[in-house]
Symmetry: C2
Subunit: 136 residues, 2 copies
């Protein structure tokens, strides 16, 4: 199993990280996720890391990369379920996950994404742009 | 990582199986899921097996067990994302997953769960029972 499944839920994509993100797996995940955002016109990506108990600088960087890639495709990224030990390690490693939104659990993360998307759409409406927005 | 995370989404629980379910992991998953159904009063369980490419009789039995356990706790189980090869293997192994609902993908599975729960609630309303139902 050298792929992490990406689940589609309405306008969101959900990824649950349960295994160590070694090089190839992480690169596959990045590529698959970007393709899926593009294909499904997703507005948000939820990454659940509640099963991750050990984090290193590589994994921190991958999460940051995914968030940046999604952002330029107009999708917000929220990381949910971070264990306290992981938060401690990330900060001690000097990786404050800049540009990545975080939430305590799945439900809070989804609410966060919804409110971010709503406010983005309002901004766009005010600008009177004619982008093809999905009315939800 | 010897636990499979269980994500809560409203009245549903979501489990993504990405690794081989060896004995201890499978038993942990069963126990955790039953606890979570009880704790969160969940009405449905979604099991995503899109990352599973090899299935054996043990895994088939575990999925059946989870569905039966959830059922007696009044939660429906839907298995989503089964790969064609897995469906072939299950039938060849003589495991038609009786009592387990299946759907092609996450979204279809979630719609299926919603309609099952709605029809269950209607039935209960008609029977004029006084069970403590969650109005959604």
């Amino acid at each position: 199993m050298d792929k992490i499944p990406i689940l589609r839920m309405g306008a969101f994509l959900l990824v649950t990280i349960q295994v160590d993100l070694y090089d190839r797996l992480a690169l596959n995940l990045e590529a698959d996720l970007v393709k899926m955002v593009n294909k499904t016109n997703a507005k948000g990506v939820l990454i659940d890391i509640s099963a991750v108990s050990i984090v290193d600088s590589f994994m921190g960087r991958i999460i940051g990369n995914i968030a940046s890639m999604s952002k330029i495709l107009d999708a917000e990224t929220v990381v949910v379920g971070m264990q306290p030990a992981v938060a401690i390690t990330l900060i001690e490693l000097g990786l404050p996950l800049k540009g990545v939104h975080t939430a305590l659990d799945m439900e809070k993360g989804m609410n966060m994404l919804k409110s971010m998307i709503d406010s983005n759409e309002e901004d766009t409406d005010e600008d009177q742009t004619d982008y093809d927005l999905i009315a939800e």
